[in-house]
Amino acid sequence: MNRQIIKSAFIKSLPVLAGYIVLGIGFGILMNNAGYGVLWTAAMSIFIYAGSMQYVGVGLLTGGASVLTAIFTTITVNARHLFYSISMIDKYKDSGKYKPYLIFALTDETYSLLCDGNTPDEGNPDFYRFMVSLFDHCYWILGSIIGNLIGSVLPFSTAGIEFSMTALFVAAFTEQWLTAKDRISAVTGIVCTLLCLVIFGRNNFLIPAMILITFVLTILSKRGERTK
């Protein structure tokens, strides 16, 4: 029974495998170049477990940033995680002993795998989500360790393989588009983010985009209530 769930979870996590190993290797190489060994690299991947933040974090470490700077930077880079948690509140509500880890390990990629709420028909859905989260976490840790140890001597060109993360989100978006009853939320996400990208520029658009998306979806809900 459990083996079946673990197998389903592993298959579900496969799209993240290549991307996390590769992006993890990228992070490991950065850490190596900055003079940090495998213990530091593994510690960051285990305890921070947020891809883009760890890339930014290398700069904070080598630049000798203050704790306040680190805190503020983390809030700006990772504020989008508030969004993921809000949309998983009902799904993770009764997950019992798995709940703390499920919340801790809710990265962009794990979110994109689990946000549709689909789980195998048989077995414990919380254990399934736990295994998907754990597999992803392991890929990330493994990739960063590999990168830190041998990354710069990879025998073949992996240029462009980081696109697998973009492809993961595009595939999730397309699938939701095909199955959704109404597409207003998907359109809202795309249009609001594009608008904020144009207005605020590529370094500062994410938080305004989150606010705008929330605002638009709130207005849409009010209008939905009135027409009912």
Partner: protein, 103 residues
Amino acid sequence: MSSAVLVAAMSLVTILLRFLPFLIFGKETPKYVSYLGRVLPPAIIGMLVIYCLKDITVSAFPYGLPELISVACVMVVQIWKRNSLISILSGTVMYMILVQTVF
């Protein structure tokens, strides 16, 4: 030593951000938050797609073509096969070929 403090700060703030909504709304989820939870996923995934493509420049060579072609490839294969593993793989291979040999 100071590196350990920085890593701890990054870790704790990230954890806090992930737990905060559960700490505030976990016990009794207001209807509004449940509503947001229900409608947000497609919007968030859309936001992430744009986020991943934010660094392309459409006004200069290669005009974001490798990205746009590969995104189209993922979409077409996804609509055709409905299997995200296959569509991610074909899109990524397409992109690697484009950036390594064509552009």
